[in-house]
Structure formats: structure tokens, C-alpha cells
Symmetry: D2
Subunit: 434 residues, 4 copies
């Protein structure tokens, strides 16, 4: 016990509580034949909760944590203890981390690896001791100035090699800690200006890097999923993993579309000009849905604000697409969210997570009810029912030809009459559940 | 001669002119061993210049043209004559059209086809008579209410068939008129709400449709390029041909990445959150660059304003990427641009094109000088020079492994030091040419 | 009875209904001592529901209404009857209209006025017959091509005069029909390009016009409120009534800040880069809050989509600010919303309104509970409690000086310690009510 | 001499130079009867050039400067020397600074003031020694955590007092150093969430603060201009000095519209949804134009990128509005711009400024030619010429009435015919100068 969170008791489900509690998230509630906890698979994220100091581009640290600045192994271990205290209060089944979050970087790759393993040992003990499991690990390939021009896509091959070593070490430790996924986030795999960038070359570098990660994963027997987290921009002007559709094209380009999936973040979807549910639905349609980062952007801010979710109808639509696709397998609901820099207290950190978990519980429960009710899906099936006609299906067969269809359409004097899309009525239907 | 443009003489290159003239566009000027006209391959667009009436969502027709409303074959032919008068004044070597632009729709597919062919006959005569050539034809699959929920991606298979017949007819007439490309623009191939949409099914429909177009093109011996024009949204909330990266993924998904290329519009690039030069550079890197629509959006408007280009530095960067990729083959510079609805006079239409052609001439000439000078390219090559080292190249070979690289990096004690990206100095360099 | 809505019975409050009904909107429910209907003051809008034909920039009419195109007085009267049938089904207490919505424009100002009065007579009869009352009237000063460069801000003084005559006639008819407000919407009071615009002159013209409207209103004894509806752009690049803050400055500039208030539209707030609740809260703080248009934009579309509200938490925050400011006086909740162009059926139109009314009822009820509960307000008061100290209040007195405060601060060795802003905890609190 | 910039000689005007030089900025060139240097009044900004370490939200320091971290008075003085070396190389006539930029904060207000004065003494010596003059000083009221919830608008009155002391000290030192303006920038004068914010109270606090600053300025005999720099958001969700129109309303609200002017930044204009030239033209129309920060945002990034200007046509339109308004008086062209974090070298910093100064020189020269040529202004005058008619002018007189105008319009059978707005032709005209 570090004492930092001592004033806050472990949260339990208590819909009538006035103080700290889950008012909606009952982990053991059965929904569509599965525990709510097993549907949602919540994970807390190390970086925003235990490393971020409250800075923004116009101001520095606002938080006062006893483990800051965590630039020694002692402080880093103190942080581990605080984190596991926090996980215990929250009762979240999973957590996520970057190498950079848990150990101070060493003077060499070897020392960094050694430190990573030592902190991981301590984490492993706490995990064994009833602590949460590891949803995913990842490497921070963007904070150190060596990565200022990218990691796998750096113009300097030594940076590529350095990144390879770092990912190898992170994948090893993720494997050792029983991680269910491994995430690649391309913060600086992109460019600031086309004027100094060789786009084709950088895409090739990225493809090779990714292929080696996949090959290595199989060789060490890591059964988890490799995930890419799309983000269109920020910190760089353009990032190569712009959105789900872009990542799909990259994967097809290097033949990895069955090996790698996506970790979709609500805020990144919005930055790319999409709704969150669009990105999820598209990933499902393309067969690459993996996991989610459930943190929103402020709709009036043009950067990644990484706020906790708080809008039940929005969250419902996201889980609806997830459930339509069969739900999570190795993925889960990670809160890659940070409290506002004015939220100074331990209670702010805890209650931000608790409120978000309640919002997600309401969203998933509503989505499940909507799916079981089937009215929305029945309307969707009806809308496309014409395609069940044999002549319609035939048009999609490989042998169909443009002129064959054209001649038949002309001969038949086709004059299709549109029918209502019923958007508002369907939106009303959704509102019965949220 | 319709008389409508009578007051305006054919434009010639005259840098000192005060009245209507090209002040920069000298079609015969040799640039990088080729006529400027052959580099730029300008095309005027039928729809905005001869069909659009000046309406916007809050107001109707502002233009008074003697051929409006062109809902009879007589008026449509009068419009053909006006258009060719206009082409002659402009001296543009190409034009583009939709079926919908040139003929009133008939009561049946057959009548529509017949009318299309009759107008095309008249156009063919004018083209033979020294008129411009056809850069591309396309089908309007978005204005008629039957297409309100898409064409190839419609929930109603009869609409799919109707669209197939229409594209067949347009491809036929494009072929007959010697078109150098055929464009598919997916205005309504997308959705208004996910709630009533089967994303996977619609993507499959779209892929099949596209495959049939390609198969048909080969069968009739059309040598032109099939182009898709990406656009992220508007009129619909989401369009499947969102941007170049998305289209690449779609093409890979149905194995057409060597058959179909992209027609990139500046305004659509911006709506998708990209710079125009990004989309061109990416298309070149992915091997799918085809043609451009050189019309900009207003940076403060969130919709497709389709304005004529007027910023030489911006246009220069676009042509720089085009020239770096080898320049146009079948593609060209189409002005899918409309004059503002307050620009009522014939002179407005002519001078908007003339000014845009001058801007493009300045841009391409500057881009060519920049490329011939090679300082920018030399800086780019230098930046990646490390990758020429054998050990660096080896990391990109198929046999390289993550742990192999990692072990070598660790053993070597790699500690890469970043070097300046020199962005401002490169931007200054560009400013020497524009 | 026109028959058009015959299949749909008048809607009643029935929370358990499966068919058309209000599931949440019980007009007679008492909330904070007032009927829900009297809090919400719903109004249906004539233009989107009875005039808009389903067109968008890429396609024309999709709706088939028996009164289209309503370009004769007979069709216009048929439309009046349909509208009142619709109002009866909905049971909305108010409606709104433009002159342009209800009568075909005449060949002269006199004929237009005459037609306006004749249709108004018919409307008056239907209103007397238990129909809804008039929330506001307004003049359409943007559709006719004469207004393409603005109305009050037109470079042509004859257009200014034409607009004055039109507003006079609309204000007269609004007064006669017992309208509770009169709205000025500046669709084209702005510019397309600064290059041809005299900004200062146009702002002066607008100020004078507004002053004359206010003077006339008083002279004819119109007791309603004059409202300006801010909108930042669309159809023009820039509009002078950009947002609430801008309108406040304009009003102060011509001394009308106590005479004119604002009608705030959710979608316009968003286009201007604000949340809806911000615009309401600011209008309250500045003393110019009047009424609302409760229609949202799609968060991924950069234009005014005018959709029906469907997100209860969002709507709750808006009504919370309205109730904090004391609720509506002459204003109300107008649905300046249009069904999607694919929503073809009468039921789509009715149910879009019904769903929106339910969403608003939920929102206002939740907001009222939140306000009565007072926990949110208590937290707000606590946060500023330091300002109740005499020395703190003294700093805001007119006699306080910068150096006086500075010297005291320095002498006291002030070193203020920040306290948590508790944003997430407050957001959680809101989620208890929605 | 610190030695840091030793490799770079002072820049001179040399259009044919290949190395570091001004290729366009000839300070002594006469334009419209005034030296170019006296038109442009360039200023370098201390914070981005000498304090910013290259960090962004995803990474830390990239720059290596011998004076970093400048947290001692010795290092701070070393930084002063480096800055003046830099100013000498650039030959810029002005510079700007925050208190926070030049001195490490002390343990108390008194110590901070003392340190400020000691560094200012050293700066004064360097300024006397042929160094540049001070365009403006300002206080950093946003970096320290005490200001996390605002300065003048803080819920804690002690923060208000602390801010007052800080501004007093900065204004004193600005006065002593002969500053020509004093800027207030409201980085955190705004809110993160409305839920914990009392908007009306905060606006009142801000108004009082501003009034005291103005009163103090007069009392100490500071002849410079008090400027507010509008910015809509970032770091906070909403800032009270959103844009020029909003600041105008705030000034009118506290009666300071003749005392305070605006410092307009290109990037902030864009964040607020305006063009830069719009904000300048509006400030001129409202009589509050003061100065500019000539740094752009990237059009695809939703945050304040503060890049150096590089687009001559854009810059030309800004200077055109400045010259139309009579040019700068106490204001100038400040580069509140930062080099990219990958631009590591001293040469990057120098050449970024040099390139920007050339771009501005080209822009202002073109704008002046355009204004002297008068064709654009003649077209503008013509467009409004109708308002010179006596009957037109009479409509704007205070005695004019809505019904008086309406009756005359109706009697005269007014039917105004629109004339072309000629936007494209005017844009072509601009392109003759850039
Ligand atoms: Co994020
Ligand atoms: Co994330
Ligand atoms: Co377009
Ligand atoms: Co186009
Ligand atoms: Co609207
Ligand atoms: Co409205
Ligand atoms: Co800025
Ligand atoms: Co600035």
C-alpha cells in the first residue's frame, strides 16, 4: 500500500449509493449469456493515470503524485504499487502499459531491457496476487528525441534498428506477463512536411517492420493479437495509420490482413472525420476488428483530448457494432483517457474511471437489448431483401457482365421506385433503449 | 455560333495584355522537353459551366443562359453549340461530361441511351471540327431520386441494374468519342446513417460493379483508364471512396489495383483532411495516380465549394508531385470548378477559366524548374542516404528478423543522434520558385 | 382534411405504446411548478416540413407531396390545410413560417403582400379553430436572386428598400396573427469574398435596418420580441451574425442590446465552433437570450444538416442552461429541422417530430431535476466562494487599482494553491439524471 | 557573444545570394513613401525562439541550446546574450517577450519582480547598444499551475490578485524599456467545462481587470497601446477572447472600445473559422486594429501550430487590409512562430525568420502596388455607387422608417436586378501582383 489512494474504498456495485460506487456496472450481471465484465473487458491505462503530469502545450505539471518524477527505479516501483492499489479499488480486470511508462530509460538498450524486466517482475507478483491481467503492452517509440522523425519510418536506419530492439523487448515482456494483445501505435510514423519525405520508402519500411513483428510473435509462441491503433495526425501532420480503411490498405499491401487487427480509439476516429461506430463497423466488415480505446475527444477541440466517455447514446452505438460483430475476443475496452489537468485529487482519477465504466455498462446493456429485440436488424434485413431474389444474386456472381445486366434492365424497362430510408424512425427506436 | 459568348474573342498568350488573355499560359512553351499544353492537359467541365444554374441550399437559379433549362433536345443542342463556342475561346485541349449534362433523361433507359447518342453525334461533329478532345466521360448516378440511396451500393438490386445500364451506355459513348479515361464518382455510394446500412454487403456490391466495368472496358477495347474520384462526404455523411488510401484498400480487396486509378480533386482532398499534394504523392507511391480535378475548397467552408484555383504556391506543390511521378499519361487537369453564383456574366465564366489556366501554368513551370534544379531532391536523397549502407538495406530484406536486428543493435550500443529536418529551409527553397 | 396524413392518428402520451405516440412528452406533467408544454413551447417549422422538396446540392426533389410545387394560390392553400392537419396530429402549441413558405411570390411587392394576407387569413381561421399559435414569423430574404448579395447589406440600395418592404409586410402579418416573436435571419447578410466587400459600410446598413425594424415594431404596438438567429456561414463564406458574441457586439454598436435578443440554433452553434449550451449560457450572461432552434448538425458534416435532436444528454445540457436563466418567456423550442431526403413517407415527418419532442421532454425533465437537486449549483457556488470575502469583492469595485492590488498581493506574500476543478465528477453527476 | 550563432553572419539584402541573405526584404526600399522596414515593423518573439525546447504533447525537448534550462539567473543572462546576438544577425527592429521568458520565477512576487528588473537592465544595455526596440511586453499568466483555471477569471480571488501584481510588474518593465504596446493574452481566460463555470461572473472579473490595466497605464504615463490577442481555444476548450468580433463586444460591454485594440494572429483567426484578412478588415471596420502575429497554422491541423508564414498570396491579402486601414501605428509584424521540433540547428532558427521576412516583404510590396494601382478599390467603389444617390443615403439617416421605405418601394414598383459580383475576375486581378 502506498497510501495515496487510502481514502477511497474498493468500488462495488450499488445503484443506490450516494458516494463512490458503481451505479450501473455490475460485473456479474448476465447479458446475452455472458457476464457484463466478460463483455466489456475493461482496462486501465498506465500512461495517462500514472505518468502524465497534467501538462499541456501552455503549461507544465499540475498533479502532485508522491512517485513523480519516477526517474529512478525506486520511484518507478513506488508507482507500480500505487497503480496496483488503484487497480484494486477499481476492480478492472485488465491494464495496459508502454515500456516507457513503467521503467526509467537506461543508458543503453541493454540497461533499458534489464530495467523493464525488473519492473515487470514486480508487476508479475502483484498480478499473481489477484491483480488484473494485461490486456496489452506496447512500446513508446515517440517520446525520446531519437524518434522525432519516426521509428520504423525514420530516415536513419539506426533508429529503425533501435525501434526493432525496443519492440522485441516489449513483445517479450508482454508475452511473459500473459498479455492478450500487443499494440503498435505510430505516433510519429508519418511526416511533418512532404518536402523532406520519401513516402513510398517509408511505407515500405513500415511494412517490413510489421512483417518482422508478426514473424517474431509466432516464433516466440505469443498467441495474442497484434494490433495497430489508427490515428490520422497529432503529433505529426500526417500519420500513415490514418484510419481503419487506411490501415486495411497497408495490411493488404504487405499481405498481413489476416495477421494484424486494429485497436480503434473514439477520439482518433473523430479526428479522422468518422464516427466511432463507423470505424468499428468498417473494421468488422473488413475482418480486422480487434479492440477499442474508449476515450472521446471534445467535439469543439481539434486535437486529441482523450477524455473519459460520458455520453451513453454514443457509447451504445459503438457497443452495438461490437456486439453485431460478435463482441471482443482478445480485445477489450481500454480507457486511454486522461482526467483534465485541473482534476488534481486521487478521487478525480478514481471517479473518472468509475463514471466511465458505468457509462459503458449502460451502453453495452442497451446495445444488447437492442440486438436481442431485433427490430433494428429486422429493418436492416428488410431493406436489402430484394437482393435475395435469384436474379439479383446472380448480378453479384463472378460471371455477371455489365452489358448483360444492362440489356436485361433495358428490356425489362426497369424504373425502380425509392422507398423510405426511415432514418428518424430508426433513431427513435434506438432512443427506446438508451 | 450561339452568340452567347460573342463579345469575347479567343484567348491568346499575351503577357502584357490588359484585357482578356493568358498572361502566363503559353501552350507552346517548352518545359522539360514538352509543350506546356501537353504537360497540363487542361479540360473544361460541362456540368458546372453549362448545367449548373447558380443555386445553393438557400436559393435557386441566378444565371440566365439562353439554353436553360435544357430539358428538351433542342435546348440541349443549343447548349452543345454554346459549349463548343466556349471551348474555342478558351483553347482548352479537352473537356469532360456526364450523360446527365448533355441530354435530357428519357422516359426509359432506351430513350436515354438514344438521346445520349444523338447529342454525342453532334458533339462528335464539333470535335472533328477542331474542337477539343474528350478527357473523360462519366455517368451521373446521383441526381435522380432513384439513386437517393446509392447506385452500385443501393439496397434495391433494380437500382444496381439501372446504374449498370447507365454506365454501360456512358462507357460506350466515351469510347466512341475517343475519351482518354472514364471516371466513376460515387456521390451517393455511401450512407446517411449506419442504422439502416449493411456496410459489408454494400462494399461487396461496389467491388462487383467495379470489376464488371473493368471487364467490359477490356471487352469493348476501350484503352482509356478507369478512374475513381475519391470524396469523403457530401452529399452523404460518409462515402466509400473516402480518399486515396481508402480507394487503394478497396481496389486491393477486389484485386483491381493495377486496373483502376484515381482522379484526385483538391477540394475533396481537403474535405478528407489531407493536402492535395499528399493525395497525389500517396497515389504515386501506391501506383494508382491517374488524373486531377484542379478545383479548391474555401478553407473556411466545410463543404465542397469547387472554386477555381488561385494560389500559385499551392498549385506548384501539386504539380511538383505530379512531375516527380512522371507527369500525366492519360490524365489531365480538369476544372471541376464553378464560378460563384454571383458571377453572372459570360466574361465571368471565361475569365475564371483563363485565370485558373494561368495559375496552373505558373505552378507547373515553377515545379519543373524546382525539379530540374534538383536541390530539393538532393536534400531528400541525403536525408535517407543511410539506407544505402549494406547493413541498413539488409534490414529490409525478407530474411531479416526482429530479434536479429535487436541483438545487433544492442551489441553495437546503438544510440542514434537526430539531425535537423530543415523544414523551414526547404520551404524557403520552394519560395524561390513561386 | 387534405387526406395526406389520414393514416396517422393524433399523438397522445402513452409510455407503453408500441405504435405512434409520445413515450415521454406528457404536456400536462408538472415540472418545477409549470406544465411541461409551457416549459418547452414546441413549434413546428413550415419551410422544412411543407416546402423543402428533398433536394441537396447533388440531387433534386425526392418527396412527393400533393401540394407541390405550391406555386399557385390553390396549391398554397392546400398546403395550409395539410400543415394544420399535421399540427393537429402533433399537438404542438406553436408553429413558425417565412412569407416565402406560405405564398407564391407575386409579380410586385403589392401582389406579394396581398397574397401573404390572403393566406394569412386562411391560417388565422385554422388557428382560431383550435390550431396552434404563432411562435414567430420571418421574411425570406435569401432565396430570390435579387438577394444573392444580401438584403440589408446589399450593395444596391434598391435591394435594401425591397427587403424593408418585405420585412414590414411580414412584421405586419406576424403581428396580426398574434406572433410572440419576429425573427431576422441573415442568410446572405455576409460576403463571399472580401475583395468586393465594404465591411464597415455593410455593418452600418445592417445596423440601420435593425434600428428601423425595432422602431416600427414599437410604433405598430407589436409586443413580441425581435430575434436575430446567429449563423456563421452557409450559404455565404462569412455571415455578420456569426454567433451570440458577435451579435452582442453588433447590438451594442447600434445601441439595441436591450431591444433585440437571439434565437440560437444548435447546428449553427456547432458551425461556429461552440457547444449549444455555450451559446445559451453566453446569451443569458449577456442578457440577450430569446429562443432556440432545436436542430442539430451531424458532427462529421461541415454544413448545416438541420437534423432532429436525438441525443438526450446533449439536449439536457441545453435546457439546463435555459432553466438556469429562468426558462423561456416569449421564446420556445422550434424544430428548424428537416427529415433526411430519403425519409419519404408522411409517417417519417410525423415520427421525426414526435421522437424529437420525446427527446426534449426527457432533456428538460432531467435538467429540472438537476436544478432542483442543486448539487451541481452548490458545487459551482463553492468554487467561487472566495469572492464573497470583503477584500475579494473590493477588487472588483470601480475604485480598485492595479497597483493597489499588486502591492497588497506582494506584501501578503500571496501564493495561491489550486484546487481540483472536479470536471469528471460533475460529468458523472449529470449522468445520474440522463 | 555567446558563440551559438557564430557561424552565421548578419543578414543583408542580396537578391542574388545563394547563401543566407534576404532575397526580397530590403529595409530601405521606399514603398508608398515609407521605408519597407517602417511598414513591416518586424519583431522576433523571445518565447518560441529562446525558451521553447521542442516539446509537443507526445515528446520532450529536441533542441540543445547552451542556455537550457535557463532556470538560474546566470543561464537566463546567457540567453539574453544569445537573443541579442540573434537579433543582430536578423536586423529586426523589434522584439517581444513575456516576463516568464526572460527570468526564472522567484519564490515570491517580490523576488520575481526583482529578477525581472535585473534581466531587463541587461536587456536595456543591449538595446541601447544598437539592439532592437521593444514592440511589446506581456505577462505569462498561463504556465504556472496557479493559473490552471485562469488568471483574471479565476474562481480564486487570490489568483486574480497575483495576476494583477504580475501584470503591474510587466507593464512597468515594458514602460521602462520603451515598449510600444502591451499585450494581454488570455490563454486560460476561458473554461474547460461549463459545468463548473460562472460565465457572467468571469466576464465581469475580466472586464474589471482590463479596466484597471487601462487606468494604470494612463497613470504611469505609458503611451503605448494596450492590445488583446484573440484566440478561440487551446489550451482551454473555450476562451473569452474568441475572435475580433467577440473582443469588440467585450470592450463595448466595459466601455473600453477606444482604449484597447487587438493583436491578431493568423493561426488564431483560422482556429476561429475566419481568414486572417477577415479579422484584420473587421478590426479596421470596428476601429480596434492594433498589431499582428504573422504565424500560420497548418490547414490540416486543428491546433495552433505557430508556423512561419510561407505563402505570399495569403500574406499579401493580410497586408492589403492593413494598408487599406492606414498601416501600423504602434503595432507591427511579430513572428509568434516556432520552428518545427525537428529543425535543430541555429541555421534553422535564423533562416526560418529570414524566409518569413522575405515572404512578408513580397506580400506588403504587392499589396502596396495593388492599392496604388487602385483597380480593386475602383471596382469596390463602383459596386456600392448606388448608395451615393440622395434617396439611397436618406434611407440610412436616423429619421428613415421601415414603412416609409416600404411604401416608396412598393409605389415605385422596385424590382432590383442583380449584377455580377465578379469574384473570379477580382481574384485574377490580385494574381497580377503576387
Ligand atoms: Co488519443
Ligand atoms: Co489510444
Ligand atoms: Co468537388
Ligand atoms: Co471532381
Ligand atoms: Co440551420
Ligand atoms: Co434555424
Ligand atoms: Co498561436
Ligand atoms: Co500570438
Amino acid at each position: 500500500m502506498t497510501g495515496y489512494f487510502d481514502a477511497i474504498p474498493p468500488l462495488t456495485f450499488d445503484p443506490d449509493a450516494d458516494g463512490p460506487a458503481f451505479r450501473h456496472y455490475d460485473p456479474d450481471r448476465m447479458v446475452m449469456g455472458k457476464r457484463l465484465a466478460d463483455h466489456l473487458r475493461f482496462a486501465a491505462a498506465w500512461w495517462h493515470s500514472f505518468c502524465w503530469e497534467g501538462g499541456d502545450p501552455f503549461g507544465g505539471r499540475t498533479f502532485e503524485r508522491p512517485w513523480f518524477p519516477a526517474d529512478t527505479m525506486d520511484l518507478a516501483e513506488r508507482r507500480v504499487d500505487a497503480a496496483f492499489d488503484f487497480f484494486r479499488i477499481l476492480g478492472a480486470p485488465f491494464f495496459c502499459f508502454h515500456d516507457h511508462d513503467i521503467r526509467p530509460e537506461g543508458a543503453s538498450l541493454a540497461e533499458s531491457r534489464d530495467r523493464l524486466n525488473r519492473v515487470a517482475d514486480r508487476m508479475g507478483e502483484r498480478m499473481a496476487d489477484g491483480g488484473p491481467r494485461l490486456l496489452w503492452g506496447t512500446a513508446n517509440l515517440f517520446s525520446n528525441r531519437r524518434y522525432m522523425a519516426g521509428a520504423a519510418t525514420n530516415p536513419d536506419p539506426d533508429v529503425f534498428a533501435h525501434a526493432a530492439a525496443t519492440v522485441r523487448d516489449c513483445l517479450d515482456v508482454t508475452h511473459r506477463l500473459g498479455g492478450e494483445n500487443y499494440v503498435l501505435w505510430g505516433g510519429r510514423e508519418g511526416y511533418e512536411t512532404l518536402l523532406n519525405t520519401d513516402l513510398g520508402r517509408e511505407l515500405d519500411q513500415m511494412g517490413r517492420f510489421l512483417s518482422m513483428v508478426v514473424e517474431y510473435k509466432h516464433r516466440i509462441g505469443f498467441k495474442g493479437t497484434i494490433l495497430i491503433e489508427p490515428k490520422p495526425q497529432e503529433p505529426t501532420k500526417h500519420q500513415y495509420d490514418f484510419d481503419v480503411a487506411t490501415v486495411y490498405g497497408l495490411l493488404k499491401r504487405c499481405g498481413l490482413e489476416t495477421e494484424v487487427k486494429v485497436n480503434i480509439e473514439q477520439g482518433h476516429a473523430i479526428l479522422a472525420g468518422h464516427s466511432f461506430e463507423h470505424e468499428i463497423a468498417l473494421a468488422n466488415a473488413l475482418g480486422i476488428f480487434g479492440s477499442i480505446d474508449m476515450n472521446r475527444n471534445d467535439p469543439q477541440s481539434g486535437w486529441d483530448t482523450d477524455q473519459f466517455p460520458n455520453n451513453v447514446p454514443d457509447v451504445t452505438l459503438a457497443y452495438y457494432e461490437i456486439l453485431r460483430g460478435g463482441g471482443f475476443t482478445t480485445g477489450g475496452t481500454n480507457f486511454d483517457a486522461k482526467i483534465r489537468r485541473q482534476s488534481l485529487d486521487p478521487a478525480d482519477l478514481v471517479m473518472a474511471h468509475a463514471g466511465a465504466m458505468d457509462v459503458c455498462a449502460r451502453g453495452l446493456t442497451a446495445a444488447a437489448a437492442m440486438l436481442e429485440d431485433d427490430r433494428l436488424e429486422a429493418a436492416r434485413r428488410d431493406r436489402y431483401a430484394g437482393w435475395d431474389r435469384p436474379d439479383a444474386r446472380a448480378m453479384l456472381d463472378p460471371g455477371a457482365t455489365l452489358d448483360g445486366i444492362a440489356d436485361r434492365a433495358s428490356a425489362a424497362g426497369l424504373d425502380p421506385h425509392p422507398v423510405s430510408g426511415r432514418q428518424e424512425i430508426l433513431e427513435n427506436l434506438v432512443n427506446r433503449y438508451v
